[in-house]
């Protein structure tokens, strides 16, 4: 899809309160362009509660309900039921939540909404830690990454929420990356065309949290894909498909080494060579898993 088909209208207005180079803001701008003005947003406690700007102004040119941290998917459930009951079936109800509000404190509500099949687009912008409170480890922080609560590196693994959501057998799961707006447009529009709960998980580079210069956001986001750390894919009614540049990265020789992604970020500065090798191994194992899924689908004629 050519870039020129992107709608001109800006629904995320100038004067918002995001940090320079904020990945979430780049994502949100494209997401709102894809969805258009008939979009009701629900935002739990997160950077975006601040990015929206202080009362009485707002940087969002769509109706927006701020809600408590754990409550966004449930609030969206009630909202979409109400809008349909009141005769509004022509609108999108979108949750826009961070990784803490999704993979940790908001997971119960999200799981419930998914099981009930509410007609919601749930988007997690994953900056891989509690950034709004000042870089604390979340369930989505990658292994070994520095945060203020993992000063010597995260001992845990990153929760694989897209897989957890796919296991709910919802109609659509996909990953997004701010370096690939066409992929965003395609997936968000597709999500909007499907009834039920759609789960989109977006990598959201964060200059202050990941410790890099704010001009590098798109470069780092792109390297995340090119090294295979971040995989662009969709699970459409149970069928897994790689998208964008990730389509060509099953072959390891086509992936850049993960160190290229890691070395630009201060949060990985403390890593030893062995640490980097271990992360490389984890990334390769994930791709082997993907390769197995694709082979299995091929065998089954999917």
């Amino acid at each position: 899809m050519a870039h020129r088909v992107f709608p001109k209208e800006e629904l995320l207005l100038k004067g918002h309160a995001a940090c320079p180079g904020c990945g979430a803001t780049v994502l949100l701008r494209h997401v709102l362009k894809a969805l258009g003005p008939k979009t009701y947003m629900v935002i739990p406690a997160s950077c975006s509660s601040v990015i929206a700007g202080p009362y009485p102004k707002t940087a969002f040119s769509v109706p927006l309900l701020h809600i408590a941290f754990a409550a966004s998917a449930a609030a969206a459930s009630g909202m979409v039921e109400a809008l349909e009951k009141l005769g509004r079936r022509d609108v999108n109800v979108v949750v826009w939540a961070g990784d803490g509000g999704t993979v940790d404190i908001g997971l119960q509500a999200l799981s419930g909404a998914a099981e009930r099949g509410h007609n919601i687009i749930y988007i997690c912008y994953d900056n891989e830690a509690y950034m709004n409170t000042g870089i604390q480890k979340s369930g989505s922080t990658p292994p070994k990454a520095w945060t203020t609560t993992t000063p010597t590196g995260n001992p845990g693994f990153k929760k694989d929420l897209p897989s957890i959501m796919a296991a709910h057998r919802i109609p659509y799961v996909a990953t997004l990356n701010p370096a690939y707006p066409n992929d965003i447009l395609y997936k968000v529009r597709k999500a909007a065309s499907i009834r039920g709960l759609k789960y989109l998980h977006a990598l959201s580079p964060c200059p202050p949290g990941w410790r890099y210069d704010s001009r590098l956001t798109v470069k780092i986001a792109r390297l995340a894909v090119e090294t295979g750390v971040w995989v662009l894919y969709e699970v459409d009614h149970g069928v897994f498909r790689l998208t964008g540049p990730s389509k060509h990265l099953v072959d390891k020789s086509r992936r850049k080494p993960v160190v290229e992604y890691l070395k630009l970020q201060g949060r990985f500065r403390h890593l030893s060579e062995e640490d980097v090798e271990e992360i490389q191994r984890m990334v390769d194992e994930n791709w082997e898993r993907i390769s197995e899924i694709l082979k299995d689908q091929e065998k089954r004629g999917v």
Partner: protein, 385 residues
């Protein structure tokens, strides 16, 4: 039309008559019969509403917040642990000025586990910005649930409103309940779909944005003004309801020999019946004693209670709530009402009926005798068997 209903079914019938758009709830004893009955009404088509079967109370309140934020009429109900689990979002509902209506079947908190009545859960909401009624019978549950919508959705109020009632003694006890015909309910309740504080895509706005201190205090002050307006609105709603249904609720409290008694009991909820019987017996023996039952708890009727206390020499406040290290909420309010009026009746607070213990007529007489013997301050009435 009369129907024999439990307190919980009375709530469900009132909600059916109020015609909400979205109901969301999570089951907890002793609230469950309300939502079972409402599910039947929705499934049979008697009630054209969406029922969101959530996975927790936190989500139940969040769902009605989401629904109310776009203009829907809503209902939920809970008890005890469930109310505490949704506590955070209850405050959100009030701050966002969403006229949600909730039933709270009061139940003691664990541990130890108890499913029986106590009002500690209800009182925990006292500073949250909810308008709070407490019913003492199935009929009142029905009547006050309808009035809750009249108050909550009034443009001068726009606050969530709850109706509390006792576990089992009211929630599961069958009584004849007079229902209000639907056409009359429709005339009583605010028109649906005209509320102004709703999110619309035609005119995008944000609800709940970050507010700096100078704005925050003004927004919260608006909530206070709304709560003060609720005194008048509740009175008017009670009077209008009285005209339509023949049962007058223009007073925030119910009085038995209030104005002409030396000693006044203050109560709330279903134990009141035994208190009224105790008053009758004591008066037969020539004692000057009366009883006031609080029906509208928030906004608290300080002026009405203060006026009653002007002529009383003493007051016995019976709280069905465990409270430790301080006076119970109801006593503190009654004392504040007296102080604000410039009167100082002798005060005995009695914590009674905790965890579902029966409070009988003899217990009230015992409390009265203790007061007469000079007991003041705070005491627990263990009672029971």
């Amino acid at each position: 039309m009369k129907k024999v209903l439990t307190g919980n079914y009375a709530a469900a019938y009132a909600v059916r008559a109020a015609e909400p758009d979205v109901i969301s709830a999570y089951p907890i004893t002793p609230q469950t019969p309300i939502i079972e009955k409402l599910s039947e009404f929705v499934d049979s088509g008697e009630l054209d509403a969406r029922f969101v079967r959530v996975e927790s109370e936190h989500s139940a309140m969040a769902a009605v917040i989401g629904a109310s934020s776009v203009g829907a009429r809503t209902y939920t109900a809970t008890s005890s642990q469930g109310l505490f689990y949704m506590y955070e979002v209850c405050w959100w509902a009030a701050g966002a000025r969403l006229p949600i209506v909730m039933g709270v079947v009061t139940r003691a908190l664990g541990p130890p586990w108890s499913i029986w009545s106590e009002h500690t859960d209800f009182y925990a909401m006292r500073d949250s910005g909810w308008v709070m009624y407490f019913a003492d019978s199935a009929q009142e549950v029905y009547d006050l649930t309808l009035q809750a919508y009249m108050v909550a959705e009034h443009p001068d109020v726009l606050l969530p409103t709850m109706v509390g009632w006792d576990a089992f003694e009211v929630s599961h006890t069958y009584e004849p309940v007079e229902l209000v015909p639907l056409d009359r309910v429709r005339r009583l309740l605010p028109e649906k779909g005209v509320r102004e504080n709703v999110l619309r895509d035609e005119e995008p706005a944000s609800l709940g944005n970050l507010a700096y201190p100078d704005d925050y205090i003004k927004i919260r002050y608006g909530l206070r003004r709304a709560m003060e307006a609720a005194r008048r609105v509740a009175r008017d709603a009670g009077a209008k309801f009285g005209e339509a249904a023949g049962r007058d609720y223009s007073s925030p409290l119910e009085c038995v020999h209030c104005g002409d008694s030396d000693v006044l009991f203050v109560t709330m909820g279903s134990i009141t019946g035994e208190g009224v019987e105790a008053v009758r017996r004591l008066r037969e023996k020539g004692e000057s004693v009366g009883l006031a039952r609080i029906r509208l708890y928030r906004p608290f009727p300080y002026e009405d209670v203060g006026e009653l206390l002007e002529s009383a020499k003493g007051v016995i406040v019976v709280n069905r709530a465990s409270r430790f290290g301080g006076y119970a909420a109801l006593s503190a309010d009654v004392m504040a009402a007296a102080a604000a009026r410039g009167v100082a009746p002798g005060m005995l607070e009695v914590v009674a009926g905790v965890g579902g213990v029966d409070v009988r007529m003899e217990d009230f007489i015992g409390m009265y005798e203790r007061f007469r013997a000079g007991a003041r301050g705070s005491m627990w009435w263990i009672g029971g068997r």
